[in-house]
Symmetry: C2
Subunit: 278 residues, 2 copies
């Protein structure tokens, strides 16, 4: 039993400043953190890197780039510039991966096919900078319930169709239990992702019902919902993934709880439900 | 411009008694109704058939059977019996199709694969009775956000994988805009469904954001949300579908509105956004 591969995504401890996150993660005996851009923007990449290094921590990913579905050329170009800065920041804090959330339909648009084409074009435009910085772009398929307003990349198969147009060291995918657990193609697509060395991150949290009134916050601790983490994790293991397991939970009650208590529960659930299948 | 293919699903006028539904549909100049089982259970199939016939109306479908994912043998067998009665009722009211909602995970279960296997077994057990009654079973893929608690059939591709194990006159699929609009495989799977003569019903309503606090009720009139009905309907037309278009909207504000007013809006939106692409 080991916490070597457990990473605490900052979003799970949303209101905690970075030193509190670091302290909570150290207390449970883990050593990796999924860093959010808000923290880097606030403190600067150098300071974030220093705090992580001083604590013997590493960044498992930087969350998040993307949001490049705009049909307006200037807005789209500005999004690309922002993503290049995110790649620079990821490199500066030692994060191997930048997680990409595609973005939803532009306001007033119903052109889902067009929005998806712009995602492909954006990743193509960013791939050289990913290569130059040594940071991989990780396309995250979000649950289809977010297709209109958050991410037009909705399945792992679709994310892989995009990623496979580029070199594996530049572009891969996130495998996230909350977003993907329902997919009848899950086993086949996880295997495909592994065979192509495309899995850059494995993120875990549970699917709760009823769906929260704010549908973004319907996530729970592994074990509190409907997902079979042993089965899902076995697929990821059998696909050859040997990287970090990020626990990323958007949940108002968890955000309102004490970071030390949340971290203890995260560690317990990880050891109970996920680590045995890794 | 014609309302010949417009069917008012009773769920859109949820609180209206059948005579009011019939009157509203006649007033807008349409002649088909998607009937719900609650009405048949209350009035009896003979009376429903008489009211429809007296008004020159026809039933486009009976909603709904299914809910056969239970892992308990007795519960599963009872669900099959209930579905056989639903097939009898559909035949008695002249509905060519029984819409099937698979059912979610059994309470406390996380075995999604197992639940999906029981759906296949149930359809296999029902197919002979479908054939005997002359009523087709229409598998409806529900949006993946309902996979845990309502329907473990989540994509059109998965519904077709199930349906194609049986004869086309016994088992087909529902194509529903709200449930399927996000799917990157949509065009290919609608074409596949049409090529195999598997499309038994085309149901329309829009995807609203933010998702309603009760996620079942996040549907709207065509045109009020994010779906491109011209593009979607063109796929269904190009797949060779020539049947009814059922407007089925679960929305509290629409339910609270006056049935005549709702029906007028339904007809207007149908003629504006859907009929030109049929």
């Amino acid at each position: 039993m080991s916490l070597d591969r457990l990473s605490m995504n900052q979003a799970t401890l949303r209101y905690a400043p970075l030193p509190v996150v670091i302290d909570s993660v150290r207390t449970i005996g883990a050593s990796a953190i999924g860093v959010w851009r808000e923290t880097v923007d606030e403190l600067g990449a150098t300071e974030v890197a220093r705090q992580l290094a001083d604590a013997g921590m590493r960044a498992s990913s930087l969350c998040r780039g993307g949001f490049f579905t705009s049909g307006d050329d200037d807005t789209w170009a500005a999004a690309l510039d922002d993503n290049r800065r995110a790649l620079d920041d990821a490199a500066a804090i030692g994060a191997p991966t930048l997680v990409l959330v595609a973005g939803g339909l532009p306001v007033g648009s119903r052109d889902l096919v067009g929005a998806r084409e712009r995602v492909r074009d954006a990743i193509g435009a960013l791939a050289p900078h990913a290569s130059a910085t040594g940071v991989s772009l990780a396309i995250e398929a979000l649950h289809p319930m977010y297709a209109a307003d958050r991410a037009v990349v909705s399945t792992l198969g679709q994310a892989l169709d995009l990623a496979e147009q580029f070199a594996a060291k530049e572009v891969g995918v996130v495998v996230d239990t909350f977003h993907l657990w329902w997919d009848p193609e899950l086993a086949a697509q996880v295997a495909r992702a592994g065979a192509g060395n495309r899995i850059l991150s494995y993120q875990v949290c549970d699917w709760l019902t009823p769906i929260a009134a704010d549908s973004l916050l319907s996530r729970g601790y592994p074990g509190d919902g409907h997902i079979d983490f042993a089965a899902f994790t076995s697929l990821v293991r059998d696909a050859g993934y040997a990287g970090d397991v990020e626990v990323e939970i958007f949940n108002q009650a968890i955000w309102d709880d004490e970071p030390g208590r949340v971290s203890t529960i995260v560690a317990d659930r990880y050891l109970q439900l996920i680590e045995p299948s890794l």
